[in-house]
Symmetry: C2
Subunit: 185 residues, 2 copies
DNA sequence: CACAAGTTTCAATAATTATTGAAACTTGTG
DNA sequence: CACAAGTTTCAATAATTATTGAAACTTGTG
């Protein structure tokens, strides 16, 4: 990987610029690797990282070039990031090309991620658990009781997590910083 | 899938037994599907689910048979679950075969999962972030400042998450139920 | 020490998931 | 309405990840 990566154009040549570009590349890489171990595609995480550290909005073309991915991949990934609420379209008058900017407020970023995962996985899971927990059975069967206990415990955990996540999601900055951090940690 | 799954032997035939076995199968399936979307292999999640709803300890052979997986897969998966602290070996005097039981206390299960993921991913991430944040640069370069801001924000988030998770991990049942649930949710 | 009854390892393979890229589509403009 | 400049879709393919299963290993026993 060349040190002279075209990650940004500085107005005048600057000796520390290559290092900054390199640091950005490392950050994009870190995000990509971390993403995969949490069940998010590498590209999704990388595009997000790229936009997070890019002060200007980038076009699909820019994203393709900087991450060496195909047009189709860029298009799909960008659409998914919009779904999550993590990036926004930026339209420029007189241009047909679309540009994208990342939500830069990390608290909001966190809330978007929590919200998306909660509704995609936790809510679905709770529905299935509720349904399974309704299974009738005779309480004298120890096997039935054991199953029921595990199920009820997990349901309780899911409820608690749900409430905690909802709270974190709706938290305002002040609540988050003051009450939460100071009182709790 | 047959209703007469050999998930357990009840001492006497019981009309609700097939339904219970079916419910267990559904639960194992739910766990498997949920696992994959959080970056955990399907088999790992399924073996865990199987042992969670099994009142008796199961041998590798039992696990292979009930989930239709190979010996090698069962062996590796079981080892990984032990690593996570989610299941225990149970040795029976006079038998060479090993049996496995799941940790059934959901609070502990949660703590094990949090601990494992924290050390595997969060801690590694914090290390890389710290290193990247040290990048020197001139504060007059807006590009540098933007990058540094994002990095610092994410570091702060990582720290907060870390503290929150550590707290949840060490929480005792009473603290968890009382302080946490009542005061917070 | 030979064997039986298991467990573990790991290269080969299968299954899954992500990515490409060409074709179809969209939209604004002369 | 034809065309230019984009975006989106999706079947084919590539890359990744999980799984198999045979061989190597381990361990207790006659």
């Amino acid at each position: 990987m060349s040190c002279q990566m075209p990650l940004e154009k500085s107005t005048q040549p600057n000796p520390s610029a290559p290092t900054l570009a390199e640091a950005k590349a490392q950050f994009i890489n870190l995000w990509g690797v971390s993403g995969t171990s949490w069940g998010v595609s590498k590209t999704l995480a990388q595009v997000h990282a790229l936009l997070l550290v890019s002060p200007q909005a980038l076009s699909t073309e820019d994203i393709m070039e900087q991450l060496s991915i195909s047009r189709g991949n860029a298009s799909q990934t960008v659409r998914e990031l919009i779904d999550w609420g993590l990036i926004y379209k930026e339209l420029r008058p007189g241009e047909r090309r679309e540009y994208f900017v990342a939500e830069k407020d990390i608290l909001r970023v966190t809330q978007c991620i929590i919200a998306a995962r909660k509704r995609r996985e936790l809510d679905q899971m709770k529905r299935t658990l509720d349904q399974l927990a309704q299974l009738p059975g005779n309480d004298t069967d120890p096997d039935y009781r054991a199953f029921h206990t595990v199920l009820t415990d997990i349901q309780q955990l899911a409820d608690t997590s749900d409430k905690l996540l909802t709270r974190l999601m709706k938290a305002e900055r002040n609540w988050f910083l003051d009450k939460f951090l100071k009182l709790f940690l």
